[in-house]
Symmetry: C2
Subunit: 292 residues, 2 copies
């Protein structure tokens, strides 16, 4: 099975290396070629466009940044759909819009091509260690067919239903994380202002009903002032925007998620901290910064 992989960022590169280790032949394309050097050195073959990748592959995986990038990679003038061939499978692993996932699925169907949306969670560490959680939407038969590929990059792989369902599951995941991140930030801001020992607070809270992954993993980093991504705040903001767009279409009012989006917007666009990790949210709280 020849695999094409578009997008050699932090996540994509780590996944490509795992595919190469599992003896898949991998052809790659990336908008910025320099960022593909590491995977080329590891054995991947370069192609000059998404279309060229598609022409040479049985399976094309995409892992890019924003929905507009996904759109370009699939529907652009040198996009995947210019060179697809019947029987191929296309898998978008970018966290992107459920609606766009459905559009790609429909376009694929017209051309005899199977399409999955399969966003992941677990971050760069999960990508490196092949312990990603993969949330899959599309036909169940396509999902079954792709198991040998998914199992090389991830650990927990779940089929959620029709096209877009993988993206919706990922959105649900991000809505949960919006809660843990805002809660953690305000907890730390409060505890610091109250002159509590923050290490003790984290330890105590993480030992009871407030226990959560974000606190255990990001809490100690925040205390060190370490805001290196990890997971870019600008990407999390994108995810929350998608989630709220979908919620809006479903006529849902999600005020806590909406507020989290406004806070991340303040961090990314107000404070210019979009390239920091999501746990840098604490820095939009004045008292946190002032006393540091």
């Amino acid at each position: 099975m020849k695999i094409g992989f578009i997008g050699t960022g932090v996540m994509g590169s780590a996944m490509i290396k795992n595919l190469l280790k599992a003896d898949f032949a991998v052809t790659v394309y990336n908008r910025t070629k320099e960022h593909a050097q590491a995977v080329i050195a590891a054995g991947a073959t370069w192609a000059n466009s998404p279309a060229e990748v598609a022409s040479q592959s049985d399976v094309v995986i995409t892992m890019v940044g924003f929905p507009k990038d996904v759109k370009g990679v699939y529907f652009g003038s040198k996009g995947i759909f210019k060179r697809v061939h019947a029987g191929q499978v296309l898998v978008d692993m970018t966290t992107s819009s459920p609606k766009l996932a459905q559009q790609i699925f429909v376009e694929g169907k017209k051309r005899g091509v199977e399409v999955l949306d399969a966003p992941v969670s677990g971050g760069d560490v999960g990508a490196q260690n092949a312990t990603l959680t993969v949330m899959v939407g599309g036909l169940e038969s396509t999902y079954q067919k792709m198991q040998p590929v998914f199992s090389v990059v991830g650990q927990s792989i779940t089929y959620f239903g029709a096209a877009g369902s993988g993206q919706n599951a990922k959105m649900a995941n991000q809505i949960m994380i919006a809660g843990t991140m805002t809660g953690m930030s305000e907890m730390l801001v409060y505890a610091k202002a109250a002159n509590l020992d923050l290490e003790q607070v984290i330890k105590t809270v993480d030992n009871g009903g407030g226990q959560n992954w974000s606190l255990a993993n990001y809490g100690p980093r925040v205390l060190k002032g370490d805001y290196r991504p990890g997971f870019y705040a600008k990407h999390f903001l994108k995810d929350l925007k998608i989630a709220l767009d979908v919620a809006d279409e479903m006529e849902l009012n999600l005020p806590a998620t909406e507020l989290a989006k406004r806070l991340y917007d303040r961090m990314v666009n107000g404070a210019g901290l979009g390239n920091e990790s999501t746990d840098g949210l604490v820095n939009i709280y004045h008292s946190w910064r002032e006393d540091d």
Copy 2:
């Protein structure tokens, strides 16, 4: 060491039973005497007022509902301070205001009485199994002296500093939980509207970066429509109000916690669901109720 215990609600009764099992003599008072029958049957002695409890005890523990109840129990006409004697220790384990904790401490000091604030987390199950987390404020020497008592009711006991610090640590804990509870509620509302399998969503999210205690413990309950407390929504609303009052005094703006308070206010005062568990928050979202 003779212990007085004021407040024989769900939490207090479970703690009293553990103290009795550890062979402490316990004198109890409760506003509604019927609710003390179980601990009296288990070996506790009844007293007719907080003052009477105080007159007969070396250590007085209070575990009541709201800060106004704490105030009454300590400063009321039949309150503890009417009958304290030098050398006694008073421990308020109610989740209450840090400022009130400081007032009780100061009043105690005047009378040669040591005072701790020592709110707990871990809920009814933690109280029954003596696995509570205890957050202590006051003099460190008093905290050391009370270790034999705390270790009978709790598992993780942490000293946080001067009077009020235990309450502030508890507030930090509740701010964190405000995040996990609002995040979980909106995640479930979104996932349901998107026609995802909610059990699969909980399992997947709880397996990754969104993992948290609330989701693991309350998520499955919500799917069953089980909103029995657990932890009363009305008490959680009280906690959030205290936290935000303190934040206000510290000139902190905590918008996510403020929003959580408004949502719980809608649940408790708007929808009249204050006697349900905190995870019943999901019911203030129209789409959740409508489709049920």
